[in-house]
């Protein structure tokens, strides 16, 4: 097998790109791909193609390298917690921790940003006015909040336009309500470079959803929920957000209630669950569309 090639012509056959892709897709993971990338410029071209990368990531979901801990209110920036040995991503995690800039010093006025969400190598940060009581004056509050999506590894960022005041007004908000932005994960059939940000805005009477898509470059008002009938929803900022199967979940364990945002249909769902601890019964869910 390791005998030297007989003739140079046979030695370096020019394989078509789709054949090379077919071969590279069968490698074990990112480390193999990285070494292959260094081996030859033709391979490098094929590997960096967006179509190939999308297919590769579909077959080899990127491993978790760590978490960005940004829950502490007064810490300003997040703290990256890399995977530790013996986790198999520990090496890559350490490399990321050394290479990336989690102080976001590449942003203008670095100290003024607050981390709002992190997912798939991107971090959502915001900077704006502090929360004040609702006034009639539009232009302070979430409609004036600056949102930036950044890539701490490559030290790049993209600014997202603020939610337009007239959109907020037409949806029935004054613009100063409680505001929580987070990423909507990009699905497998979508362009990897695209970004979608969801903003949950809460007034006294309702919870609304604004959605930004980098494909349209615009915000839209997606759906809302009248919360006056739901006592448990009045303090949703205390609830942690979860994501699975294109839905976001906020569960309140005291009230045994759950709010679900379905991002395929763009509607809210309220759900009651009963955790039965006796016997081997499973949690029972009842739900209704709103």
């Amino acid at each position: 097998m390791s005998s030297p090639p007989a003739s140079p012509a046979a030695a370096q056959p020019i394989l078509p790109d789709d054949v090379l892709e077919d071969i590279f897709l069968r490698l074990d993971g990112a480390a193999d791909l990285a070494r292959l990338y260094a081996a030859c410029s033709n391979f490098r071209r094929v590997i960096s193609g967006p179509r190939f990368l999308r297919r590769f990531r579909f077959l080899h979901p990127p491993p978790v390298l760590g978490f960005l801990d940004f829950f502490r209110r007064n810490s300003g920036n997040g703290v990256f917690r890399p995977a530790q040995p013996p986790h198999r991503s520990a090496k890559g995690a350490l490399a990321l921790a050394q290479a990336a800039d989690f102080n976001f010093s590449f942003l203008p006025d670095p100290g003024s940003w607050r981390v709002r969400d992190a997912r798939d190598g991107r971090v959502l940060v915001s900077r704006g006015t502090s929360m004040t009581a609702c006034t009639a004056e539009v232009g302070v509050g979430f409609t004036a909040e600056k949102l930036v999506v950044c890539d701490p590894l490559h030290r790049r960022f993209v600014q997202i336009p603020s939610i337009p005041s007239d959109l907020a007004v037409s949806a029935g908000y004054c613009g100063t309500e409680e505001f929580r932005p987070f990423f909507d994960p990009i699905r497998q059939d979508e362009e990897e470079s695209s970004v979608r940000v969801i903003c949950i805005v809460q007034s006294k009477s309702k919870v609304g959803t604004f959605v930004y898509s980098s494909v349209t470059g615009n915000w839209r008002y997606a759906t809302s929920l009248d919360i006056e009938a739901y006592e448990w929803l009045r303090l949703p900022k205390l609830m942690r957000r979860h994501y699975a199967h294109s839905c976001f979940y906020w569960a309140d364990f005291y009230w045994k209630q759950m709010l679900v945002l379905d991002t395929q249909r763009w509607n809210f769902l309220s759900s009651t669950y009963h955790l039965k601890s006796r016997g081997n019964t499973k949690p029972l869910w009842t739900s209704r569309h709103l």
């Binding site: 097998m1 030297p4 090639p5 007989a6 140079p8 046979a10 030695a11 370096q12 056959p13 394989l15 078509p16 789709d18 054949v19 077919d22 071969i23 590279f24 897709l25 069968r26 490698l27 074990d28 990112a30 480390a31 193999d32 990285a34 070494r35 292959l36 990338y37 260094a38 081996a39 030859c40 410029s41 090496k91 890559g92 350490l94 490399a95």
Partner: protein, 174 residues
């Protein structure tokens, strides 16, 4: 070549087609085997390739074509059974053994097979040879990958690039 009748034909003997390699060698095979090639399938369904006509394959030489047909003949019965839902574990193990043995070949033959499988669009063979090449380069350094694939030694610039990459992506190198 006298493959047993798998019972899918309505009238006795299996239909045969003739394939002609780039160096003008004629190969007579069962239509079912040749139809593993997506490229040939339509021609064969249209009734082509029979009798004295033959289907010319100007991109495939006789050595490679004979190897390709060896694969097709072995895999045709299972393919005819629609992915072989009623295949026994023994049948499947036998095919697997055949596949492993089949790609245990000289590198130049492997490359010819890759191109033939690609041109003839034989799905199973395409993934078999792709997997073989992937297995050959898994876990290897850039230099070892070049040597395994028979590339010439890198130029000084390429070598410098490889070294720089190794420094930057140390995590990918054990």
């Amino acid at each position: 070549m006298a493959a047993p009748e798998s019972g899918d034909g309505n009238n006795g003997a299996a239909r045969m087609v003739t394939l002609i390699s780039s160096d003008n060698t004629r190969f007579e095979v069962e239509a079912a085997a040749a139809s593993l090639s997506q490229t040939l399938q339509l021609t064969i369904l249209d009734g082509g390739g029979g009798g004295g006509d033959g289907i010319p394959l100007p991109n495939v030489d006789s050595a490679t074509l004979s190897k390709v047909l060896e694969y097709c003949i072995k895999h045709a019965p299972a393919a005819a059974n629609g992915g072989a839902p009623n295949a026994t574990a023994v049948d499947r193990a036998e095919l697997e053994r055949f596949d492993n043995e089949f790609v245990n070949i000289d590198q130049s033959v492997l490359y010819s097979l890759i191109m033939a499988a690609h041109n003839l669009e034989i799905e199973g063979l395409q993934s078999l040879v792709a997997k073989k090449v992937a297995d050959m380069i898994k876990g290897k350094s850039p230099m070892e990958i070049r040597r395994t694939l028979g590339f010439p030694d890198p130029t000084p610039e390429e070598q410098a690039e490889m070294n720089a990459h190794m420094l930057e992506y140390g995590w990918a190198y054990e």
